[in-house]
Amino acid sequence: MIAEHIDLSCKEAARLMSHRQDRALSDVETENLKSHLLVCLSCRNFSDQLGVLSRLARRYGNDGPPPEEVPL
């Protein structure tokens, strides 16, 4: 594949944002994603929301939900 800049669709950008949590993106993928995020608010929101999802999953596996406030 020739390393050149392409305009990503949101669908492709979303896939890359998910993959970057599991594997290293190539330089081209990183560049393309960066340019897309500069111009796309929905994808910036998506990126934030993936972060929330990861934090939620981690928190779910560590402390779990906040305790219910029941007096002894």
């Binding site: 979303a14 998506f46 939620l56 596996g61 402390d63 002894l72």
Partner: protein, 203 residues
């Protein structure tokens, strides 16, 4: 735990037992992710909970209760797997998701030029959501809606924090298959949280 030493020890123990019970759902998911079989998972969780209640005196309260319970559960799972392996020759491996094309539900999130449809609105106050028990319940319900293989892989990756390499080995799938499954799981979960919490009427 926040329980002072002056409290009636029986009361204190009863409260702790009740609190242990609130982690059963999480433990069941953890065990199901590891063992695949809900029936087996229930068995192991029961063993772990009994062991936990038996040894509750050794819970120092320094780690979170869930962390302590999980360490007991992990031990019980390994123990169980050893028993099963010695009883049976092999586990059957689960069927793999087809990753040749995106499923229709995922395609529907985008218009025909590949842009979000509808546009994604930002999530208001996610930190506040973390303080609400119901938010975690919504998350559990969303995970339950995933296909079992996707739910298992997501749980291993994001909840347990296992490396994708190791997940691939455990699941007997290729790395790219694993990435695809994780991506689809995240897309479905994001959408589910969005609909049922952030954009919906919350409770």
């Amino acid at each position: 735990m926040g329980v002072s030493k002056n409290d009636n020890p029986q009361q204190k123990q009863r409260a702790l037992f009740a609190e242990v019970e609130t982690h059963r759902g999480y433990m069941l998911r953890f065990a199901t992710a590891k063992l695949r079989d809900v029936g087996q998972a229930e068995e192991v969780v029961q063993e772990a909970l009994l062991a936990a209640l038996d040894g509750i005196a050794s819970f120092s309260g320094q780690s979170a209760l869930r962390t302590w319970l999980t360490s007991i559960l992990k031990f019980k799972i390994i123990d169980f797997q050893r028993r099963v392996i010695s009883e049976r020759a092999h586990f059957t491996s689960a069927p793999q998701d087809d990753d040749s094309a995106d499923p229709a539900w995922l395609d529907k999130m985008f218009d025909n030029t590949g842009h979000w449809h509808p546009r994604l609105a930002s999530w208001a106050n996610p930190d506040g959501a973390f303080e609400e028990k119901q938010f975690f319940e919504v998350f559990e319900r969303c995970m339950d809606k995933l296909p079992s293989s996707a739910s298992r892989v997501f749980f291993k990756r994001e909840v347990m924090g296992i490396d994708t390499d190791e997940i691939c080995k455990e699941e007997s799938i290729t790395a790219s298959n694993c990435w695809v499954m994780l991506h689809r799981a995240r897309m479905a979960l994001r959408e589910c949280l969005d609909r049922n919490w952030f954009q919906g009427d919350k409770k």
